[in-house]
């Protein structure tokens, strides 16, 4: 096999390579379609805008690059035997010419890539979703994709194909983000305007990703405008936001920030004393390309939530602050080592911290700190061996340290835990039958220092295109995970996640994915995808049911499975665009002989996302509708008086009323449904543009249930069920100014 690959690598045909970028700002265009007329041979750019077309016979060709929303660029090139012709292409924004077929990024992926269960959203598509509190949110958009479940209006956690949120690998330019939530889960810590695109791999992902059982969310930020200085500011009911970008010598920069202000104002308006809250996000990026073959990108991330509470009468009596957040820095180097060898090396430092400081007076203070620090050195190399083989290989070396520190007066307790997950992978994309049959076999090897575990993770993806617009996909893969969170599996709210390493004496949690699907292009901009999957979990570790906190040593072993089918109908362009996604899902866990459906086992889930650009008077109209069957919960079915003897009280018996719970997943909340709608209009001026928007969450005020609880009134014998609802009708307005 190696011999064949090497033989192919040293073939005598020529090749064409280069980058495709946006002419207006220099941003790379991922998954642009590049091809040679008249032979039709081509490639899609990678997520850095790089393309390579190998195995090109000597001759002259017309090189064309197209991308939806841009004018197609054509130029003549000559290809010589055994040489690589470099052609960097910039595309201008503009209307598509008559009779010209422009291939969208989705179509380019369909044609060239073996990416199964992958959905990519661009910034403009994030803006299709009506905003909560005036804020576009990445995770809210992801929750509307097939296979993704949201358990409440207040949580941005992602439950993907029966996996818990800690089974998702969340990356921001290579930085692992361990706690992607603000305001107890309502928002994610990414400034949406700074995001270039985001890809969700819901299962069966390639061998270059690892360390999580369920999915990968790969967020890529913009590189910054390398042509001119631009800026944008916005005000909404919840937050103020600003973003600036521009050129630097041989590169570009981008800075974005957001800070909330409403909660303080709201608390003051309602005379709530002794409570304060805000969060902020900062994101910065510097892109420097000293030569066409090398580029360096420095990315920084800072996000923090701060919650203060104190005794309004006497702040010295009680004064507490809880703050938590994410910080990270990454340095990425993109290299074209040879025309056929493209490499990326990333070094990243990521930190999630929390601190709870409470004082009951100057001399009486307690501090609880948790900290998770992650150092990563990752390398990915793509070797374009020939037109039919693309070999990827790399390493993923990490050191993660989890620490908890408690200080009370002069007493201090500290526990530190360090793990070294070290991985290497190799993968080949093999075009077995040109433009028809693709194989993507891969193998990932991981060594986890805790318990010195060796894990082999084979991966396989197959794509077969019997017809021009139809593809059948199959994927298989094994996945392991060395860390997990200690959050209660039933918690409705969680402020932040507490991560721990898998204890030394436990097996590594693992999952095997089996996926099969079909993609069918109905029109040039309409695609229908249908996928079915089965996931088999082993050696999961779960928190103890009904307990607020489970220490790592007391986690329960669990097995489980999930299976389901998903359908997505997506229209990417035109006067109406958006998607309809439907998911059918079963999820089961089994621990200590008990089988149950976890609280995110939603059987049916339907999302409709619609966008009507300039529907009337230049107004953009967006809407989303969600319909989902009820989530399971353990309900109360009865009660009794639990008595005990009180010899000190005249030999009486006393009692508590205790509730009798039904089986863990015996009940389901009512059907969930919600419609959000938004209007926005942009006015353009010489100096820039102004966009005003109005969004209404829960337009018809569906009274969705967050949770039930049982309570007994003072003079009432019978406990009654009461409910806490989700978001009511919530209109928000805002304005955005760009220059």
């Amino acid at each position: 096999m190696t011999f064949l690959l090497l033989a192919a690598a040293f073939g005598q045909d020529g090749a064409v390579n280069g980058f495709v970028r946006d002419a207006s700002n220099g941003e790379p265009l991922a998954f642009a379609n590049v091809y040679l007329d008249p032979i039709g041979q081509g490639a899609a750019t990678n997520d850095r805008g790089y393309y390579y077309i190998g195995g090109v016979p000597e001759g002259s060709y017309q090189l064309a690059a197209s991308y939806v929303g841009y004018k197609t660029e054509r130029r003549y090139i000559s290809v010589e035997q055994g040489l690589t012709t470099t052609a960097d292409i910039t595309l201008d924004l503009g209307a598509v010419e008559v009779d010209e077929v422009v291939v969208s990024a989705e179509r380019a992926r369909f044609e060239r890539e073996v990416e199964i269960s992958a959905t990519r959203l661009e910034t403009r598509q994030l803006a299709l979703i009506p905003r909560v509190g005036g804020e576009v949110d990445l995770f809210r958009a992801i929750q509307l994709l097939p296979g993704v479940i949201s358990t409440s209006d207040f949580s941005n956690k992602l439950y993907i194909r029966g996996g818990s949120p800690d089974q998702n690998l969340i990356l921001l330019d290579g930085i692992t983000v361990y706690n992607p939530s603000h305001l107890f889960g309502i928002f994610s810590p990414f400034v949406p305007e700074a995001i270039s695109d985001v890809t969700l791999l819901a299962g069966g992902h390639p061998a270059n990703y690892g360390g999580r059982l369920s999915s990968v969310l790969d967020v890529v930020t913009k590189e910054g405008n390398s042509k001119k200085y631009t800026g944008e500011g916005s005000l909404s009911l919840l937050a103020a936001k600003a973003i600036a970008e521009g050129p630097i010598p041989k590169g570009s920069f981008l800075v974005a920030g957001r800070r909330t202000y409403l909660p303080d104002a709201l608390l003051s308006a309602f005379d709530v004393e002794g409570l304060g809250y805000y969060f902020y996000d900062l994101m910065g990026k510097v892109n420097y390309a000293p030569s066409p073959d090398y580029a360096f990108t420095l990315t920084g991330l800072g996000a923090e939530d701060v919650l203060d509470f104190w005794d309004p009468d006497d702040r010295d009596n009680l004064n507490a602050r809880l703050n938590w957040g994410n910080r990270g820095v990454s340095l990425r180097s993109n290299m074209i080592l040879t025309p056929t060898l493209y490499g990326e090396v990333i070094g990243a430092w990521s930190n999630f911290f929390s601190q709870f400081r409470v004082s009951f007076g100057p001399a009486d203070q307690a501090v609880l700190k948790t900290d998770l620090t992650d150092f990563m050195l990752k390398s990915d190399f793509t070797w374009y061996l020939a037109d039919r083989h693309t070999l990827s290989l790399g390493t993923d070396l990490k050191a993660a340290q989890m620490a908890i520190n408690i200080t009370y007066d002069t007493t201090e307790f500290e526990r530190r835990d360090t793990i070294w997950p070290l991985s290497a992978y190799v993968e080949d994309k093999w075009e077995l039958v040109p433009e028809r049959l693709f194989f993507r076999p891969g193998l990932r090897y991981s060594w986890y220092s805790k318990g010195s575990r060796h894990e082999l993770e084979p991966r396989l993806g197959v794509k077969y295109k019997p017809w021009e617009n139809t593809a059948f996909n199959v994927a298989f893969g094994r996945f392991t995970q060395p860390v997990l969170t200690l959050n209660s599996t039933e918690a409705v709210f969680s402020i932040y996640d507490v991560w721990v390493a898998v204890p030394r004496d436990r097996e590594t949690p693992s999952a095997v994915h089996y996926i099969a699907g079909v993609e069918q292009w109905l029109q040039d901009d309409v695609i229908l995808e249908l996928e079915a999957y089965y996931k088999d979990y082993d050696n999961l570790l779960e928190t103890r049911y009904g307990e607020m906190f489970t220490p790592p040593d007391s986690l329960l072993g669990a097995d489980g499975y999930s299976y389901g089918a998903e359908l997505m109908l997506r229209k990417t362009e035109g006067w109406y665009n958006g998607w309809v996604s439907y998911s059918y899902m079963w999820t089961k866990r089994s621990t200590r002989g008990e089988s149950y459906s976890p609280h995110y086992d939603r059987r049916h889930n339907l999302n409709v996302v619609s966008n009507f650009p300039r529907l009337f008077l230049g107004v953009d109209v967006t809407a989303r509708f969600t319909l989902g069957t009820g989530l399971p919960y353990a309900g109360i079915i009865g009660y009794y008086r639990r008595r005990f003897y009180r010899p000190d009280a005249g030999n009486q018996t006393w009692f508590w009323t205790r509730y009798i719970e039904g089986p863990r997943d015996a009940f389901r909340y009512p059907l969930y449904h919600r419609l959000d709608a938004g209007l926005s209009k942009t006015w353009k001026f010489k100096w820039g543009e102004v966009t005003g928007f109005l969004d209404v969450i829960n337009v018809y005020y569906a009274r969705n249930v967050l949770l039930y609880y049982w309570d007994t009134e003072d003079d009432e014998e019978l406990p009654t069920r009461k409910k806490i609802g989700m978001l009511p009708i919530l209109p928000t307005v805002g304005v955005k100014v760009g220059f």
Binding site: G546, R603, H604, L606, L627, T629, G630, G635, I636, I637, G638, Y639, Y640, R641, R642, R643, F644, Y645, R646, P647, D648, A649, G650, N651, Q652, T653, W654, F655, W656, T657, R658, Y659, I660, G662, P663, A666, F667, R668, P670, L671, W710, T712, D714, E717, L718, P719, R721
Partner: protein
Amino acid sequence: MTRFIPPAAVAASLLLTAFSACELTPAEMFEPELNVHCLLVAEHDTAAALVDRTYAIDDPYIVDFRGASVAVWTREDTWEFRELGNSWYKEYRFAPPVPHDTYGIRVTHPDFDTVAGSTIVPDTFSLLHPRPGDTIDQNDSLVWSRSRSCLGYYMSMEQATRRDTFFYTIVIPNESIPGWPYDSLTERVPLVFLQYREEGPCTLRLCALDQNYFDWMSGSGQGLGSVSNSMNAGITGGVGVFGAAVQREVAVYYRSDTSSSIQSRRKSDPLSGLIVKPPTSRRLPSGSEPVLSPCASPSATGRVSPGPALARR
């Protein structure tokens, strides 16, 4: 005539059917059971049991649950308890339980499964300190000889003052507790909780508990033992507990001025040199029910609400 059903209507119907959540009602899932509480106290010649039932979440509580038959037996005798009303069943001519004896219980009701269980009366013990009539303060400890066969103790303190009656209760396991000095012959618990009490007479009580009642008390969220959420202890066929205890008490005088009472403690407490960490207080419920004493008759029912850590009456 052929009827034509539009495919869209079929699809919509199927979708609506699929989305309609089917769920059982609480009543359909609930199976009522008898709820039994019976604690045999060594050396007492009256035994009592409270028998009612579990209720579906929508069912009102029946104060005067009737119709059960309660029988308790040992090797030689069987006693059929008399129904007094308000869920009470009693036997006034009960042979005082003897340590190490095994007792059985059977509760029947025509509408419910039979409840059965057994218990072993724990070993007797003695209070060593303080002595009756001693003057004590917060620096004193309650010291007793260990009951060899009990699982733990239920300690309580009662103080009647001008304003209220103060209770302090805690369940203490008989085994070694991490961080506590262990003595196989005696157990010592400091009376630090007395520090906020008014000066005056008070009574300290201690019950040695069998396995069943110790589990039951621990499961009620009290004490230092492991917390079990089990709905029954020592019985099958229903919820509740069948247990046994040995009880001791001592009447003392509590003095808030510590200097004088320390001397009193030193005179009467030969084990005063030990240093013991304070126990953790736990919450107590405040629902109360009729007096179980032989001379009292059942009357009031209690309120349903959790009580404060230090309950007041």
